[in-house]
């Protein structure tokens, strides 16, 4: 049996934005799906651990109860906005549906609220756009509609799984600004899942680095960007090219992420680590946090 996540602990406060960063195959999206109880079962299932939302145990919840939580108390924005919207309904209908189902609004009120939401997410001519189908809109506009849907019921938690990866960089910046504004206004907590370290620095309160299904480092953005302690985080930062360092070779991380089918009894990064020692190949390091909340899972963290 493969293990995609190997004991991930996350805690998110009201109004906080937490970024979950990692490369492909590290378990970012599976974390998001687990939180929403949306894992495709089979083949996947949550084998251990628990999820609490506002002090409520979520594990025993029936599917019916989950449906009341998803979309209402926890909103989600997926990576590919064009594929996440239903192609046979107008985008207005899709935003309205959430309002009617979760909040029991009447058709007229829901229509009015939909237009407000579309305006809020910065779409020009909301009346016209509400009557259009997803294929008539650009990727950036579809993602704005997705955000409108996700925040329609004023959820307490918003999960954004690579919300800007499918978009152009200039549009990406607009969408992130929008997400940030929306959360500031309403005290919504955000779990931002991304592979791109560059976008998290300005928009988040905490950053969690995930590798092979384990949290390897966690801290404030400055802890991560200026005082990274885990060799994997250091590697990720050094691998990012910038035009100032032309001519200097980039630091690449050799090897590949371990497969979920590998049994890992030692440090998960040992095979690729430039600073690996005997101990790293035999024992598993524990996740240790300092007082300020900067934590790392490494026997020999960098101290600066």
């Amino acid at each position: 049996m493969g293990k995609v996540l190997r004991g991930v602990d996350l805690a998110l406060e009201e109004g906080q934005t937490l970024a979950l960063v990692g490369e492909s195959g590290c378990g970012k999206s599976v974390t998001a799906l687990s939180v929403l109880n949306l894992l495709p079962q089979p083949p996947m299932s949550k084998t251990a651990g628990r999820i609490r939302f506002e002090e409520r145990e979520m594990d025993g919840l029936s599917e019916l109860d989950w449906r009341r939580v998803r979309g209402k108390e926890i909103g989600i924005v997926f990576q590919d906005p064009v594929a996440s919207l239903n192609p046979v309904f107008t985008v207005g209908d899709q935003v309205e549906e959430a309002l009617k189902v979760h909040l029991g609004l009447t058709v007229a009120v829901a229509k009015k609220r939909t237009l407000e939401l579309l305006t809020q997410v910065g779409l020009p001519e909301p009346e016209r756009i509400a009557g259009q189908y997803p294929h008539q809109l650009s990727g950036g506009m579809c993602q704005r509609v997705m955000i409108a849907m996700a925040v329609a019921c004023e959820p307490k938690l918003l999960i954004a799984d690579e919300p800007t990866t499918a978009l152009d960089v200039t549009v990406q910046a607009q969408i992130l600004d929008l997400l940030f504004q929306m959360t500031q206004k309403s005290k919504m907590a955000v779990l931002l899942i991304t592979h791109d370290l560059r976008i998290v620095r300005n928009h988040t309160d905490r950053v969690v680095i995930l590798y092979a299904g384990e949290v390897v480092e966690e801290g404030m953005p400055d802890d991560i960007f200026l005082h990274a302690q885990h060799p994997y985080t250091e590697g990720l930062l050094a691998a990012m090219p910038t035009f100032g360092q032309q001519g200097k070779p980039l630091t690449s991380i050799e090897g590949a992420v371990p497969s979920p089918f590998d049994t890992l009894t030692a440090c998960v990064f040992a095979d690729r680590c430039p600073k690996v020692q005997e101990k790293c190949r035999k024992e598993k390091p524990l996740f240790e946090s300092e007082k300020n909340g900067h934590g790392v899972r490494c026997f020999y963290p960098s101290k600066k």
């Binding site: 152009d168 960089v169 607009q174 300005n202 090219p241 035009f243 032309q246 980039l250 991380i253």
Partner: protein
């Protein structure tokens, strides 16, 4: 000059009339010119739909430009005889974006690399096996990998194979179309290192096409910024990326660093005909003059040119 591109325009028919005659066109590239010298690395940066890949495909002859000329070694490729074309073709190679779809799944890596060598009649047949081995080692894979099929490799390894295949022809110029954008950042770094090394050791020139300004800035010496089919700014990397002059380049640079940007909206469709500046509808500095006047290049400093009449006011 190794490569000269003179005012190329590429239009694709998007609507056809009753007898299949095109009635509407999408103008993907509208008058792009640039040169690449031997061994030079030129970056071409822009967002999706700006026409950068179309330029790349015109350069290697995969598309024929609707208007304008592409010159390989001073010779117009539209006027070459088939033999001349084949001989020159060897020296202008392409590496594609998606390493999963650009390799034949039924071909062993050895055959992937042998084919271009055989087609161009490089090496004596007895020496080819050794040549292929050298190639695969040069891109950081081992000779054992030659007997494998593409599905046995990761994305980064496949991209190395794509580079080895282009190298097999002993090219003078490689057009690299988003060679690292489907890769994780740690793998991306190793491919960029490989490309830098090949450029240094073998003096191969690159046209490096990417949407990522930081990647382009890292690898190139000169950069062209494209927007909606036209080049809006060009110059040496240290000029353009240090203090970009065109509002679009400024936006792109800010966005690539994760900062907030002042632009609104999105790129227009290339099917629309824009009378003035293509960036007009999004530009924070736009004035009425921008909407109806085509922007010509203005010289900022030597090779550094910008297609914006207001550049000195907004720098």
């Amino acid at each position: 000059m190794l490569l000269s591109v003179e005012k190329i325009t590429k239009e694709f028919p998007i609507q056809k009339g009753l007898f299949g005659t095109p009635t509407a066109y999408l103008r993907a590239v509208a008058g792009v010119s640039f040169d690449i010298e031997a061994g030079e690395v030129v970056g071409l940066v822009g967002e999706s739909g700006c026409g950068k890949s179309t330029v790349g495909r015109c350069v290697v002859g995969l598309h024929q430009a609707t208007d304008g000329r592409v010159l390989w070694d001073g010779k117009d490729i539209a006027k070459l005889s088939p033999e001349e074309r084949r001989t020159l073709r060897r020296r202008f190679q392409m590496v594609f974006q998606n390493p999963f779809s650009s390799l034949n799944p039924r071909q062993k890596i050895e055959d992937v690399l042998l084919e271009p060598i055989a087609v161009h009649g490089l090496f004596r047949p007895s020496e080819r096996a050794a040549a292929v081995q050298e190639l695969i080692e040069q891109v950081g894979l081992s000779s054992k990998d030659l007997q494998k099929y593409p599905h046995e490799f990761s994305g980064g390894q496949r991209q190395r194979i794509g580079i080895a295949r282009a190298l097999a022809c002993q090219p003078d110029l490689m057009v690299l179309d988003e060679p690292v954008s489907s890769l994780d950042v740690s793998v991306q770094a190793s491919i960029l290192n490989l490309l830098t090394k090949l450029n240094r050791d073998r003096k191969i020139g690159y046209l490096f096409i990417s949407h990522d300004l930081q990647v382009v800035g890292y690898i190139s010496t000169r950069v062209l910024v494209m927007y909606l089919g036209v080049v809006v700014e060009e110059g040496r990397v240290d000029q353009v990326l240090k203090s970009p002059r065109h509002p679009y380049t400024q936006t792109l640079l800010k966005a690539s660093l994760g900062a907030s940007v002042a632009v609104k909206g999105e790129q227009l469709s290339p099917a629309q005909v824009v009378p003035g500046c293509a960036f007009y509808n999004r530009c924070p500095h736009a004035e009425s003059r921008c909407s109806n006047e085509k922007q010509d290049f203005q010289e900022v400093d030597g090779v550094w040119r910008v297609a914006c009449w207001k550049w000195h006011k907004i720098g």
